[in-house]
Symmetry: C2
Subunit: 224 residues, 2 copies
């Protein structure tokens, strides 16, 4: 215990959220509760960002033609991915990877334009903007779980095509199509784990001391 | 309210954590509570990752020479950044950006090697590995806050130099030096905000509808 620790009940609530958050792809047709979308964006906006640059922008998709076009692009990329995994093509095609047409709300998360002006903490690591957007979406994911709302991060798309669809400035970049909605049930485990596409590594496989252990590679894939 | 919503108290605990988490740079000399480091890595490991690739690896730095060398590199990059911000050079140098020498525990977060084998959700967006690591560190940050432990993400370093120091495989990449330790107090606001380097954007500045609003740029910087 430290002087600034939260109560046991508060800490348990956080850990429950960390453990029960899932990437969701099945949604009920019901709308979100009143104010939920604004709360989720507020949670994202509480994230840390490198040099306080706040690189995250969210486009709420309310135009059904736009939603259909986003879905069409994701479906094309899903098939292109399957073609790139010949050893497990059919298995991959059985995994549901998105709920774009069913979810109550669809957001596209975008890295803002003019990021190159922001140098603090990015001079040698420009990808810190992506990391900051990751932190923001994780906040949103956790806030959604506490409200009983499912969120799925879809990254199967051609960023240039999505940028054109949404009229993004040339130096902005879409990084996530976020499917958000009520769900029948949260998956007990990640879908790719459940479907035998990978195992959660033991802690000893991700925590080392002082230097990289010789001969150790990355996480194995299920499709080599 | 949805059928799967947490209790009001649980939701409030999550929001307290989201609001009170800070990027910390001042640390007390006290060690972490028993088991805390393992809990923080466990929290990180509960994060989502694209295609379940789990790209995150953490190197715990227990060698004081290595810690000193990491600090030297960060200090050099801090000065290089100041030189790149001539209009606010002196102001920038007054902001404390890291607590590498004082913090109880120092971790380097690394993107694993052999990431190019992982295609699912990354064929067109290879930077999804960085986004996944961002999610993991955000989980760790929140778990630390609930325990009353401060965490600071330092990205002022030359990734190649740090990779060499830690004997990383050629295709692994360090993305964060994480300073972790007990603190006297958590900052009420982000340090860069407090020091007048930026303002938190209003929600209307980060949430748009269907398309990018014409003429809107990125977050202003304080040093143009």
């Amino acid at each position: 215990m430290t002087a600034h620790a939260y109560s046991e009940a508060e800490t348990a609530a956080l850990w429950r959220t960390l453990r029960e958050r899932r990437d969701m792809r099945h949604f009920l047709p019901d709308p979100l509760p009143e104010g939920a979308l604004e709360r989720l964006v507020t949670a994202a906006h509480l994230a840390p960002s490198v040099g306080f640059m706040q690189p995250w922008r969210f486009l709420r998709i309310t135009d059904s033609t736009l939603r259909a076009e986003l879905h069409r692009g994701v479906e094309a990329e899903r098939l292109a991915t399957a073609a790139a995994l010949p050893a497990r093509n059919a298995d991959f095609l059985q995994v549901k990877i998105e709920g774009i047409r069913e979810c109550a709300e669809l957001l596209v998360a975008v890295l803002m334009p003019e990021r190159e002006k922001h140098l603090i903490g990015r001079r040698t690591l420009p990808e810190m903007d992506v990391a900051s957007l990751g932190c923001a979406i994780q906040n949103m994911w956790l806030a959604a779980r506490a409200e009983g709302i499912g969120l799925g991060w879809v990254s199967f798309f051609d960023p240039e095509a999505v940028a054109a669809l949404l009229h993004l400035p040339p130096d902005a970049k879409p990084l996530a199509i976020l499917c958000i909605g009520q769900v029948e049930a949260f998956y007990p485990r990640p879908m790719f784990e459940d479907a035998g596409w990978g195992k959660r590594l033991p802690l000893a496989g991700i925590l080392f001391e002082n230097r990289w252990p010789e001969g150790v590679g990355g996480t194995p894939t299920a499709y080599e």
